[in-house]
């Protein structure tokens, strides 16, 4: 504990219309500062007018920091690694003790250890799957799918717990379902409605067809089958119109695609943030996968079969986990990766239960592991950095 009033310079340095204002100046020479650079901090009494005046006076020499700039500089100067930089974000946005503890764990350099615990059962499941593929039953005995299942579930639980502790975007409000004709948007709504989801019905003031399904208090899925099934140009215009009409409550889009359709490609959400994507007909064509979302997207992709209900629960759980109606805060990159990894494991579990070949289940598990590797050691540093640092809502 430093002696009182001695650890800092105490000086009336700030000038306002020729007068001094009492304040504190902290000088922290690099490289042992937060960013590793020389840092000077001015501590002044609050007040917008004062802030503006001082800002104007400093203008030739200084400018306001962009969101995340201090953390970015700290990273670039080797004071933080990527996982730790992310943990700063997590800590800032932590809303519960558990979230804060998870973030602190990572900040203290524990990302590898945290992940290792979740990876282990997944690697175990991979090993069992491989034993069944690379050896004959004569040699290994029959590999019990229940043992594989158990490991996958354990891995999923650990990842999901970690994901829940990570800060994330809380859309609240309404989500717009975007998809071409017959992509399965209505079926998706029906499938979600099938289990204790209330149909809100036509919304007053909108076109006759807009249907909103309330998944939880504060979050609705908007489905507009009539308009959006028009040919491309009309479809785009309709999407824009919807966006404008619901601008105040619309938080983002959920893309819907039938991967078996001709030239299947994800619709463009324009400026609307894509929060999740759903590929339909997973039950009718388990081998048909959607094309990847953009390379920079961390939105999870769900494979849903509305006829059999496969994957519907996964999607609903995700929606519920992400809907609190709270304010939108910095989008969670970590949560995005973890969600995607969880979605892959759920797909693996569904495949396992449906009797899909071990080589295909193994592929899903491998993808989940790959996503975790991408997170822990990202493949394209620049894209990741832009995303990460751009999502800081505060200066530091």
């Amino acid at each position: 504990m430093p002696r009182r009033r001695r650890a800092v310079f105490e000086a009336p340095v700030t000038v306002l219309n020729g007068r001094t204002v009492p304040g504190l100046v902290l000088v922290m020479p690099g490289p042992r500062s937060f960013t590793g650079e020389d840092v000077v901090e001015l501590h002044l009494p609050g007040g917008p007018l004062l802030l503006e005046t001082v800002g104007a006076q400093l203008a030739p020499h200084a400018r306001p920091a962009t969101p995340g700039e201090f953390t970015r500089r700290a990273f670039e100067n080797g004071r933080l690694d990527l996982g730790q930089a992310e943990a700063v974000l997590a800590l800032i946005h932590a809303e519960s003790g558990e979230q804060a503890r998870a973030a602190l764990g990572v900040l203290q350099g524990g990302l590898d250890a945290t992940l290792a615990a979740a990876r282990e059962p997944l690697l175990g499941a991979r090993a069992l799957l491989e034993a069944d593929l690379d050896f004959l039953e004569d040699e290994t005995g029959t590999v019990d799918p229940a043992a594989i299942r158990e490991l996958l579930v354990a891995g999923l639980e650990r990842l999901a717990r970690l994901a829940a502790a990570m800060p994330r975007a809380r859309p609240g409000g309404d989500l717009l379902l975007l998809g071409r004709a017959n992509a399965g948007k209505s079926s998706l709504c029906n499938a979600l409605r099938g289990a204790e989801v209330m149909l809100v019905g036509d919304r007053p003031g909108t076109t006759r067809d807009v249907v909103a399904v309330e998944v939880a208090p504060g979050l609705r899925l908007l489905d507009a089958p009539g308009d959006l099934d028009d040919p491309d140009d009309a479809w785009d215009r309709a999407a824009l119109a919807h966006r404008d009409r619901h601008a105040r409550t619309l938080r983002g889009a959920v893309l819907v695609l039938d991967p078996t359709s001709e030239g299947a490609s994800w619709p463009d959400a324009g400026a609307l943030p894509v929060l999740a994507a759903v590929a339909t007909r997973a039950d009718l064509a388990p081998g048909a996968f959607p094309p990847p979302l953009g390379p920079r997207s961390v939105a999870p992709v769900f494979r849903v079969g509305c006829r059999s209900g496969v994957g519907v629960d996964s999607f609903r759980t995700w929606l519920l986990d992400h809907v609190s109606g709270g304010p939108a805060v910095g989008a969670g990159r970590a949560a995005g990766f973890l969600d995607r990894a969880c979605a892959e494991i759920r797909t693996a579990l569904e495949g396992l239960d449906a009797g899909l070949g071990g080589e295909l289940v193994a592929l899903e598990v491998d993808r989940a592991l790959g996503i975790l590797s991408d997170w822990a050691g990202p493949p394209s540093a620049e894209a990741v950095l832009d995303r990460l640092f751009g999502s800081f809502c505060l200066g530091k």
Partner: protein, 625 residues
């Protein structure tokens, strides 16, 4: 001795010298000669070319895939197997198309004869009987491990000169045999070890490791009571190994299944201390996937029985190979324990089992063309590279043979990537890390397993085979024809609808197999062969998964194409982890892809490398395939 070579450096008796005539040596010598290089194959005994030193079987899961790839590149192993096979089976038929693989039981003597005959008949290939005892090297520097190969010296003092030498000495490299308290130098039972060459390699400053493998006692067929044993028949009809074999006319023989009993385990446990392994006489590391029976008994004490496959060594051979009980216990213990196995109560042992410990090159000294880094013109293939198995050896022999010729001709190395073949996966794995146990191929080593099937090896490697001149017009048109028939069948499945869904959609369901749809007239009309059917099934069932991996394949190929300039200053790369810097400096990888797979180099290090390369100017593409 390994010293600078005083003879005229321009002297050249051959373009390529292959030392060894096992599965690696035979393929290396054959392919080099076929590519037009004047080639010598130096062996102790011409008749031993292509000899099977372990069990007389070729193929198996992942290994069968390798043989099909070797065959697609014009290699000999598949053809010899078809000629010498006495039982053919497709393994994993109840599992997905990607992991189905051919396996054949061969007539040991016939296989040996076939391969030796093909080598003898190959024009441009001279078989030289003798022991290679030293390498002729210009400007050898054991400190820097650099030099230029000029040829080999034989035990009789004569020399053979060539700018490229392929070493395929197998278990003969510094080999030592063990059974109980008995031990002696040797490469195979009754055959001498290649000790001198091991010494020569060590003198060149190359790092060697030691591995161990083993073989079971051979049993007298007439002393076995097969009456109570489970019979394992071959497939009817048998499917040939080689893409070039139209049909197999073969009368197949049976194998039998029996198992060890608690009495077997008790006997082995009591004598375990007499095994050279447990007496600490063997330091080499054996394969975990192929343990000796004493290892199985001692390590898995909860199992009271292990399977034993009784495999005939040939159609008329009196020998039976008991697969699953490889051992180095003393001879009298071997005899006692085999007699506790049902069916073997009165068995006579013709030859006892033994363990063999042998030297291998640390494979992180190899480059992607199987050239020993630093020694220009020195190539290595097979068990000398720390692998186990005939198929792994043959595959490397083929790659090393091809690259030896390309080296002599100053052409770019021939390197297959991991998305193209198991051959590519194997060579890349070997260069990347020095395996701690004998390296065997598994399908799980291939991240693009769905692409790398045994049935499509010809289509996957068609362009490479053509580029190398290893394919004639007949094979090329056969592949084109097959390609068209598969495409037509897939189109039919995508087009034909049943109950509102296409046949392709129905086939993608996990519980449906193509055989369920064969009654469909549109499909039946095409009259597809069994191989084509299996291909069509894989194409349809895997289509979505393969498309999903396309971005990974793209990324892999982009990274492989991103060349790292030889002069890159790793010291100036700010932020590179120390471990990564050391590894990169030691190895100087040719491409970013190669760098990314060096252990100790993290994705973050690769990113730094990419950023540095982007700064230093536009990327140059690698030459070759």
């Amino acid at each position: 001795m390994t010293a600078s070579c005083s003879e005229d450096p321009g002297m050249r008796d051959f373009d390529v010298i292959v030392v060894g005539g096992g599965h690696a040596g035979a393929e290396a010598a054959l392919v080099a000669a076929r590519m037009g290089a004047s080639t010598a194959c130096v062996v102790l005994e011409a008749a031993s070319i292509g000899r099977m030193s372990c069990n007389p079987a070729i193929g198996g899961i992942a290994k069968g895939h390798l043989v099909r790839e070797i065959d697609a590149l014009g290699g000999e192993m598949g053809l010899c197997t078809d000629a010498a096979g006495i039982q053919f089976r497709t393994l994993n038929t109840r599992k997905g198309p990607a992991v189905r693989a051919p396996r054949a039981q061969c007539d040991r003597a016939l296989y040996n004869q076939e391969m030796a005959g093909r080598v003898a008949a190959q024009s441009g290939l001279a078989v030289v009987e003798g022991e290679a005892v030293d390498l002729l090297v210009d400007d050898p520097d054991p400190e820097a491990t650099t030099g230029t190969i000029r040829g080999v010296r034989l035990a009789d003092g004569s020399t053979l000169h060539a700018p490229a030498v392929v070493l395929t000495t197998g278990t003969f490299l510094g080999g030592r045999l063990f059974a109980g308290e008995w031990e002696r130098d040797g490469g195979r039972f009754g055959e001498a070890a290649a000790t001198a060459i091991a010494t020569a390699l060590a003198r060149l400053g190359l790092r060697l490791g030691r591995h161990k493998t083993g073989t079971p006692p051979r049993l007298d067929r007439d002393s076995i009571d097969f009456s109570g044993l489970e019979v394992q028949p071959g497939d009817d009809p048998p499917r040939p190994f080689s893409f070039r074999t139209r049909a197999l006319e073969v009368e197949q023989v049976n194998c039998w299944l029996t198992r060890t009993s608690p009495a077997t385990h008790e006997l082995i446990e009591r004598s375990a201390d007499r095994s050279p392994m447990y007496r600490g006489r063997i330091v080499g590391v054996g394969p975990r996937y192929c343990p000796s029976i004493e290892d199985k008994v001692m390590r898995f004490r909860d199992r009271d029985s292990h399977l034993v496959f009784l495999e005939p060594e040939g159609r008329d051979s009196p020998e039976i190979y008991p697969n699953g009980i490889s051992t180095s216990l003393p001879e009298e213990v071997q005899e006692a324990f085999v007699r506790t196995i049902p069916g073997l109560e009165n068995v006579r042992i013709l030859r006892p089992g033994y363990a063999v410990e042998y030297a291998h090159l640390a494979t992180d000294q190899l480059r992607a063309d199987l050239q020993v880094a630093g020694y220009r013109g020195l190539f290595a293939a097979g068990q000398i590279n720390g692998t186990s198995g005939y198929e792994e050896a043959a595959g490397q022999g083929l790659i090393a043979g091809i690259n030896a010729v390309r080296f002599v001709r100053r052409e770019a190395p021939f390197v297959l990537d991991r998305a193209s073949s198991y051959l590519g996966v194997m060579v890349d794995d070997l260069c990347r890390v020095n395996p701690s146990e004998p390296y065997r191929m598994f399908t799980s080593r291939a991240e693009f397993r769905l692409l790398l099937r045994a049935d499509n090896a010809d289509r996957r490697l068609a362009s490479a085979a053509k580029e190398l001149g290893l394919w004639d017009a007949a094979r090329e048109s056969a592949v084109t024809h097959k390609q068209q028939r598969i495409a037509a069948a897939v189109a039919v499945l995508e087009r034909t609808r049943r109950e509102g869904r296409t046949l392709a959609e129905i086939l993608r369901r996990p519980e449906v197999v193509l055989a369920d749809l064969l009654a469909e007239p549109a499909l039946a009309d095409l009259g597809l062969s069994e191989e084509e059917l299996s291909e069509v099934e894989a194409e349809v069932k895997y289509a979505g998964y393969i498309a999903r991996q396309a971005d990974q394949v793209d990324k892999l190929r982009r990274m492989e194409a991103r060349r790292i300039p030889a002069e890159l200053d790793y010291g100036a790369l700010h932020g590179l982890a120390n471990e990564a810097r050391e590894r990169l400096l030691a190895r100087r990888p040719l491409t970013v892809g190669e760098a990314s797979r060096i252990s100790g180099v993290t994705p973050a290090d690769v990113n730094l490398l990419l950023v540095a390369l982007a700064r230093s100017g536009p990327s140059r593409r690698t030459t070759g395939s």
